[in-house]
Protein backbone atom coordinates (compact mmCIF):
# COMPACT_ATOMS: atom_id res chain seq x y z
CA UNK A 1 0.00 0.00 0.00
CA UNK A 2 1.50 3.32 -0.99
CA UNK A 3 0.92 6.27 1.28
CA UNK A 4 1.39 9.71 -0.17
CA UNK A 5 2.55 12.35 2.29
CA UNK A 6 1.28 15.85 1.60
CA UNK A 7 0.78 18.82 3.87
CA UNK A 8 -2.58 19.69 5.30
CA UNK A 9 -2.67 22.95 3.39
CA UNK A 10 -2.34 20.95 0.19
CA UNK A 11 -5.19 18.69 1.27
CA UNK A 12 -7.45 21.68 1.85
CA UNK A 13 -6.41 23.19 -1.45
CA UNK A 14 -7.32 20.02 -3.30
CA UNK A 15 -10.64 19.73 -1.50
CA UNK A 16 -11.47 23.32 -2.34
CA UNK A 17 -10.59 22.80 -6.00
CA UNK A 18 -12.81 19.74 -6.07
CA UNK A 19 -15.73 21.68 -4.63
CA UNK A 20 -15.32 24.51 -7.10
CA UNK A 21 -15.13 22.14 -10.04
CA UNK A 22 -18.24 20.29 -8.85
CA UNK A 23 -20.10 23.55 -8.32
CA UNK A 24 -19.44 24.66 -11.86
CA UNK A 25 -20.33 21.27 -13.29
CA UNK A 26 -23.63 20.92 -11.44
CA UNK A 27 -25.45 24.08 -12.40
CA UNK A 28 -28.32 22.17 -13.96
CA UNK A 29 -30.11 19.20 -12.46
CA UNK A 30 -29.59 15.80 -13.99
CA UNK A 31 -32.78 15.07 -15.95
CA UNK A 32 -35.02 12.38 -14.49
CA UNK A 33 -35.65 9.37 -16.68
CA UNK A 34 -39.42 9.32 -17.12
CA UNK A 35 -39.82 6.52 -19.57
CA UNK A 36 -40.61 3.93 -16.92
CA UNK A 37 -43.99 5.60 -16.44
CA UNK A 38 -44.91 4.77 -20.01
CA UNK A 39 -46.95 1.60 -20.30
CA UNK A 40 -45.90 0.76 -23.84
CA UNK A 41 -42.17 0.59 -23.43
CA UNK A 42 -40.62 -0.48 -26.66
CA UNK A 43 -38.21 -3.30 -26.29
CA UNK A 44 -36.16 -4.97 -28.92
CA UNK A 45 -35.73 -8.34 -27.33
CA UNK A 46 -38.15 -9.53 -24.68
CA UNK A 47 -36.89 -11.62 -21.80
CA UNK A 48 -39.92 -12.21 -19.66
CA UNK A 49 -39.02 -14.83 -17.13
CA UNK A 50 -35.42 -13.75 -16.69
CA UNK A 51 -36.52 -10.15 -16.26
CA UNK A 52 -39.24 -11.13 -13.85
CA UNK A 53 -36.90 -13.20 -11.72
CA UNK A 54 -34.11 -10.61 -11.64
CA UNK A 55 -36.47 -7.75 -10.93
CA UNK A 56 -38.13 -9.70 -8.15
CA UNK A 57 -34.77 -10.48 -6.58
CA UNK A 58 -33.54 -6.92 -6.89
CA UNK A 59 -36.67 -5.37 -5.47
CA UNK A 60 -37.00 -7.86 -2.63
CA UNK A 61 -33.52 -7.34 -1.36
CA UNK A 62 -32.64 -3.67 -1.63
CA UNK A 63 -29.77 -2.89 0.71
CA UNK A 64 -29.33 0.74 1.72
CA UNK A 65 -25.93 2.24 2.36
CA UNK A 66 -25.47 4.00 5.70
CA UNK A 67 -24.74 7.48 4.42
CA UNK A 68 -27.18 10.10 5.59
CA UNK A 69 -26.63 13.80 5.93
CA UNK A 70 -29.14 15.48 8.22
CA UNK A 71 -32.43 15.31 10.10
CA UNK A 72 -34.41 13.09 7.70
CA UNK A 73 -32.07 10.36 8.90
CA UNK A 74 -34.04 10.11 12.08
CA UNK A 75 -37.21 9.43 10.19
CA UNK A 76 -35.33 6.70 8.35
CA UNK A 77 -34.16 5.32 11.69
CA UNK A 78 -37.74 5.50 12.91
CA UNK A 79 -38.84 3.59 9.85
CA UNK A 80 -36.31 0.88 10.54
CA UNK A 81 -37.29 0.41 14.17
CA UNK A 82 -40.00 -1.84 15.53
CA UNK A 83 -43.11 0.15 14.77
CA UNK A 84 -42.69 0.70 11.06
CA UNK A 85 -40.06 -1.90 10.27
CA UNK A 86 -38.52 -1.71 6.81
CA UNK A 87 -37.10 -5.15 7.58
CA UNK A 88 -40.34 -6.56 6.21
CA UNK A 89 -39.12 -5.48 2.80
CA UNK A 90 -35.74 -7.05 3.33
CA UNK A 91 -34.05 -3.70 3.89
CA UNK A 92 -32.79 -4.07 7.44
CA UNK A 93 -29.38 -5.10 6.14
CA UNK A 94 -27.73 -1.70 6.00
CA UNK A 95 -24.31 -2.29 4.54
CA UNK A 96 -21.76 0.31 5.53
CA UNK A 97 -19.69 -0.34 2.45
CA UNK A 98 -21.07 1.23 -0.74
CA UNK A 99 -19.79 -1.58 -2.90
CA UNK A 100 -22.28 -3.99 -1.43
CA UNK A 101 -25.29 -1.70 -1.22
CA UNK A 102 -27.91 -0.92 -3.86
CA UNK A 103 -29.77 2.02 -2.52
CA UNK A 104 -28.58 5.49 -1.57
CA UNK A 105 -31.22 7.18 0.55
CA UNK A 106 -30.44 10.87 0.25
CA UNK A 107 -31.76 12.02 3.59
CA UNK A 108 -31.04 15.55 4.64
CA UNK A 109 -29.62 18.83 3.43
CA UNK A 110 -26.59 18.60 1.19
CA UNK A 111 -23.94 21.28 1.45
CA UNK A 112 -21.40 22.08 -1.20
CA UNK A 113 -18.65 20.92 1.11
CA UNK A 114 -20.17 17.45 1.42
CA UNK A 115 -21.21 17.18 -2.22
CA UNK A 116 -17.95 15.70 -3.63
CA UNK A 117 -18.07 12.97 -0.99
CA UNK A 118 -21.65 12.01 -1.86
CA UNK A 119 -20.69 11.90 -5.51
CA UNK A 120 -17.72 9.70 -4.66
CA UNK A 121 -19.94 7.43 -2.60
CA UNK A 122 -22.45 7.14 -5.42
CA UNK A 123 -19.68 6.35 -7.90
CA UNK A 124 -18.36 3.61 -5.68
CA UNK A 125 -21.66 1.78 -5.55
CA UNK A 126 -21.92 -1.27 -7.76
CA UNK A 127 -24.45 -1.36 -10.56
CA UNK A 128 -27.45 -1.70 -10.49
CA UNK A 129 -28.09 1.08 -8.01
CA UNK A 130 -30.97 3.35 -7.13
CA UNK A 131 -31.40 6.57 -5.20
CA UNK A 132 -34.27 8.02 -3.25
CA UNK A 133 -34.42 11.73 -2.46
CA UNK A 134 -36.06 11.98 0.94
CA UNK A 135 -37.36 15.24 2.28
CA UNK A 136 -37.64 18.77 1.00
CA UNK A 137 -33.93 19.52 1.31
CA UNK A 138 -33.02 16.58 -0.84
CA UNK A 139 -35.53 17.42 -3.54
CA UNK A 140 -34.82 21.11 -3.93
CA UNK A 141 -32.77 22.42 -1.07
CA UNK A 142 -35.90 22.91 1.04
CA UNK A 143 -35.98 26.02 3.19
CA UNK A 144 -32.27 26.46 2.60
CA UNK A 145 -32.70 26.80 -1.14
CA UNK A 146 -31.16 30.29 -1.34
CA UNK A 147 -28.28 29.59 0.97
CA UNK A 148 -24.67 30.17 0.05
CA UNK A 149 -23.66 26.69 1.11
CA UNK A 150 -26.52 24.36 0.21
CA UNK A 151 -26.86 22.35 -2.99
CA UNK A 152 -30.40 22.98 -4.24
CA UNK A 153 -31.39 19.35 -4.45
CA UNK A 154 -29.41 16.14 -4.66
CA UNK A 155 -30.36 15.83 -8.33
CA UNK A 156 -27.61 18.26 -9.22
CA UNK A 157 -25.08 15.74 -7.98
CA UNK A 158 -26.54 12.25 -8.43
CA UNK A 159 -29.47 11.02 -10.53
CA UNK A 160 -32.57 10.40 -8.44
CA UNK A 161 -35.20 7.74 -9.00
CA UNK A 162 -37.92 8.57 -6.50
CA UNK A 163 -38.68 11.85 -4.72
CA UNK A 164 -40.36 11.70 -1.32
CA UNK A 165 -41.78 15.04 -0.14
CA UNK A 166 -42.02 16.03 3.49
CA UNK A 167 -40.05 17.90 6.07
CA UNK A 168 -39.34 15.33 7.34
CA UNK A 169 -41.53 12.73 5.69
CA UNK A 170 -43.20 10.44 8.19
CA UNK A 171 -42.04 6.81 8.13
CA UNK A 172 -45.23 5.80 6.38
CA UNK A 173 -44.40 8.24 3.61
CA UNK A 174 -40.93 6.77 3.34
CA UNK A 175 -42.44 3.31 3.05
CA UNK A 176 -44.78 4.54 0.32
CA UNK A 177 -41.77 5.95 -1.52
CA UNK A 178 -39.92 2.67 -1.18
CA UNK A 179 -42.94 0.88 -2.58
CA UNK A 180 -42.89 3.24 -5.57
CA UNK A 181 -39.24 2.38 -6.10
CA UNK A 182 -40.08 -1.30 -6.00
CA UNK A 183 -42.74 -0.77 -8.67
CA UNK A 184 -40.14 1.03 -10.74
CA UNK A 185 -37.67 -1.83 -10.38
CA UNK A 186 -40.35 -4.26 -11.48
CA UNK A 187 -40.57 -2.53 -14.84
CA UNK A 188 -36.89 -2.76 -15.68
CA UNK A 189 -35.40 -5.03 -18.24
CA UNK A 190 -31.94 -6.38 -18.80
CA UNK A 191 -32.26 -5.56 -22.48
CA UNK A 192 -32.14 -1.87 -21.61
CA UNK A 193 -29.21 -1.21 -19.27
CA UNK A 194 -29.68 1.71 -16.86
Amino acid sequence: MEIESISSAEIEHRESDGIEVLRIASQHPIPDPDDWLDENIKRNVIFTTVDAALNWARKTSLWPVTAFTACCTFEFIGASSSRFDIARFGMEVLRASPRQADLLVCAGTLTWKMAPQIKRLYDQMAEPKWTIAMGACAISGGIFHDSYSVVPGYNHIVPIDVYIPGCPPRPETLLAGIEKLRRKIEKESISKPR
Partner: protein
Amino acid sequence: MTTAVDYNDLVALLQKQFGKGFTPATDYVEMPAALIAQVAEYMKNTLRFDFFDMVTAVDYSDHFEIVYRLQSIQNNSLASFKIKCSKNTSVPSLANLWLGANFQEREIYDLFGIEFTGHPNLKRIVLWDGFEGHPLCKDFKGKVYDTAN
Protein backbone atom coordinates in the same frame (compact mmCIF):
# COMPACT_ATOMS: atom_id res chain seq x y z
CA MET B 1 -27.94 26.21 37.55
CA THR B 2 -25.13 28.38 36.37
CA THR B 3 -25.96 31.90 37.37
CA ALA B 4 -24.55 35.09 35.95
CA VAL B 5 -22.25 37.15 38.11
CA ASP B 6 -23.42 40.50 39.39
CA TYR B 7 -22.13 42.70 36.63
CA ASN B 8 -21.86 45.82 38.77
CA ASP B 9 -19.46 44.02 41.10
CA LEU B 10 -17.52 42.66 38.15
CA VAL B 11 -17.18 46.09 36.60
CA ALA B 12 -15.99 47.52 39.94
CA LEU B 13 -13.29 44.82 40.13
CA LEU B 14 -12.20 45.36 36.55
CA GLN B 15 -12.10 49.12 36.90
CA LYS B 16 -9.82 48.78 39.87
CA GLN B 17 -7.41 46.68 37.75
CA PHE B 18 -7.61 48.23 34.33
CA GLY B 19 -9.08 51.70 34.62
CA LYS B 20 -12.17 53.11 33.06
CA GLY B 21 -13.97 51.95 29.94
CA PHE B 22 -16.26 49.21 31.27
CA THR B 23 -20.02 49.66 31.08
CA PRO B 24 -22.27 47.18 32.85
CA ALA B 25 -25.67 46.20 31.53
CA THR B 26 -28.19 43.64 32.76
CA ASP B 27 -26.67 40.73 30.90
CA TYR B 28 -23.21 41.71 29.84
CA VAL B 29 -20.27 44.03 30.27
CA GLU B 30 -19.30 46.27 27.43
CA MET B 31 -15.61 47.00 27.06
CA PRO B 32 -13.11 48.46 24.61
CA ALA B 33 -11.40 46.14 22.16
CA ALA B 34 -7.85 46.97 23.16
CA LEU B 35 -8.17 45.59 26.69
CA ILE B 36 -9.54 42.17 25.80
CA ALA B 37 -6.28 40.27 26.06
CA GLN B 38 -5.42 41.46 29.58
CA VAL B 39 -9.00 41.18 30.82
CA ALA B 40 -9.21 37.60 29.54
CA GLU B 41 -6.00 36.66 31.23
CA TYR B 42 -7.20 38.26 34.47
CA MET B 43 -10.54 36.44 34.25
CA LYS B 44 -8.91 33.10 33.67
CA ASN B 45 -6.08 33.16 36.13
CA THR B 46 -7.29 35.36 38.97
CA LEU B 47 -11.06 35.01 38.93
CA ARG B 48 -10.89 31.31 37.88
CA PHE B 49 -13.14 31.54 34.85
CA ASP B 50 -11.58 28.52 33.29
CA PHE B 51 -14.27 27.30 30.91
CA PHE B 52 -14.52 29.17 27.63
CA ASP B 53 -18.14 28.82 26.62
CA MET B 54 -18.33 30.70 23.32
CA VAL B 55 -17.32 33.63 21.20
CA THR B 56 -19.56 34.87 18.42
CA ALA B 57 -20.07 37.98 16.35
CA VAL B 58 -23.07 40.04 15.30
CA ASP B 59 -23.20 42.36 12.32
CA TYR B 60 -25.06 45.60 13.02
CA SER B 61 -24.76 47.32 9.69
CA ASP B 62 -22.25 49.92 10.74
CA HIS B 63 -20.26 48.03 13.30
CA PHE B 64 -19.60 44.53 14.54
CA GLU B 65 -20.09 43.27 18.04
CA ILE B 66 -18.07 40.35 19.35
CA VAL B 67 -19.70 38.52 22.25
CA TYR B 68 -17.70 36.43 24.70
CA ARG B 69 -19.09 34.12 27.32
CA LEU B 70 -16.93 32.64 30.06
CA GLN B 71 -17.92 30.25 32.78
CA SER B 72 -16.37 29.32 36.07
CA ILE B 73 -16.86 25.73 37.01
CA GLN B 74 -15.79 26.13 40.61
CA ASN B 75 -18.08 29.05 41.33
CA ASN B 76 -20.80 27.86 38.95
CA SER B 77 -21.16 31.27 37.39
CA LEU B 78 -20.92 32.85 33.99
CA ALA B 79 -19.83 36.22 32.65
CA SER B 80 -20.57 37.82 29.29
CA PHE B 81 -18.58 40.49 27.47
CA LYS B 82 -19.27 42.51 24.36
CA ILE B 83 -16.81 44.42 22.21
CA LYS B 84 -17.86 46.94 19.60
CA CYS B 85 -15.55 47.10 16.65
CA SER B 86 -15.67 48.33 13.11
CA LYS B 87 -15.35 46.45 9.86
CA ASN B 88 -11.92 45.25 8.76
CA THR B 89 -10.73 45.25 12.28
CA SER B 90 -8.50 42.84 14.08
CA VAL B 91 -8.91 41.67 17.63
CA PRO B 92 -6.42 39.81 19.81
CA SER B 93 -6.99 36.07 19.83
CA LEU B 94 -7.73 34.11 23.00
CA ALA B 95 -6.76 30.74 21.53
CA ASN B 96 -3.56 30.64 23.54
CA LEU B 97 -5.48 31.01 26.80
CA TRP B 98 -8.35 28.62 26.16
CA LEU B 99 -8.23 25.86 23.56
CA GLY B 100 -11.96 26.14 23.07
CA ALA B 101 -11.49 29.51 21.42
CA ASN B 102 -9.49 28.07 18.56
CA PHE B 103 -12.24 26.70 16.35
CA GLN B 104 -14.77 29.35 17.29
CA GLU B 105 -12.48 32.18 16.25
CA ARG B 106 -11.79 30.41 12.97
CA GLU B 107 -15.53 30.22 12.38
CA ILE B 108 -15.93 33.95 13.01
CA TYR B 109 -13.08 34.67 10.63
CA ASP B 110 -14.67 32.39 8.03
CA LEU B 111 -18.15 33.85 8.21
CA PHE B 112 -17.51 37.49 9.16
CA GLY B 113 -14.00 38.34 8.11
CA ILE B 114 -12.81 39.51 11.52
CA GLU B 115 -9.16 38.65 11.97
CA PHE B 116 -7.78 37.46 15.25
CA THR B 117 -4.14 38.35 15.73
CA GLY B 118 -2.02 35.72 17.38
CA HIS B 119 -4.25 32.82 16.35
CA PRO B 120 -2.11 29.77 15.56
CA ASN B 121 -4.10 28.59 12.55
CA LEU B 122 -6.44 31.24 11.20
CA LYS B 123 -8.09 29.83 8.08
CA ARG B 124 -11.54 28.87 6.92
CA ILE B 125 -13.24 26.11 8.81
CA VAL B 126 -16.84 25.60 7.67
CA LEU B 127 -16.52 26.82 4.12
CA TRP B 128 -13.89 25.76 1.64
CA ASP B 129 -10.65 27.59 0.91
CA GLY B 130 -11.62 29.09 -2.40
CA PHE B 131 -14.88 30.63 -1.23
CA GLU B 132 -14.99 34.34 -1.88
CA GLY B 133 -16.59 36.63 0.62
CA HIS B 134 -17.78 36.34 4.16
CA PRO B 135 -21.38 35.17 4.07
CA LEU B 136 -22.80 36.27 7.39
CA CYS B 137 -21.96 39.95 6.83
CA LYS B 138 -25.04 41.96 5.94
CA ASP B 139 -23.47 43.13 2.71
CA PHE B 140 -22.71 39.69 1.32
CA LYS B 141 -24.16 39.75 -2.15
CA GLY B 142 -25.45 36.79 -4.05
CA LYS B 143 -25.50 33.10 -3.33
CA VAL B 144 -23.16 30.59 -4.84
CA TYR B 145 -25.77 29.20 -7.13
CA ASP B 146 -27.41 31.60 -9.50
CA THR B 147 -29.91 30.01 -11.86
CA ALA B 148 -33.57 30.26 -10.97
CA ASN B 149 -35.35 26.97 -10.89
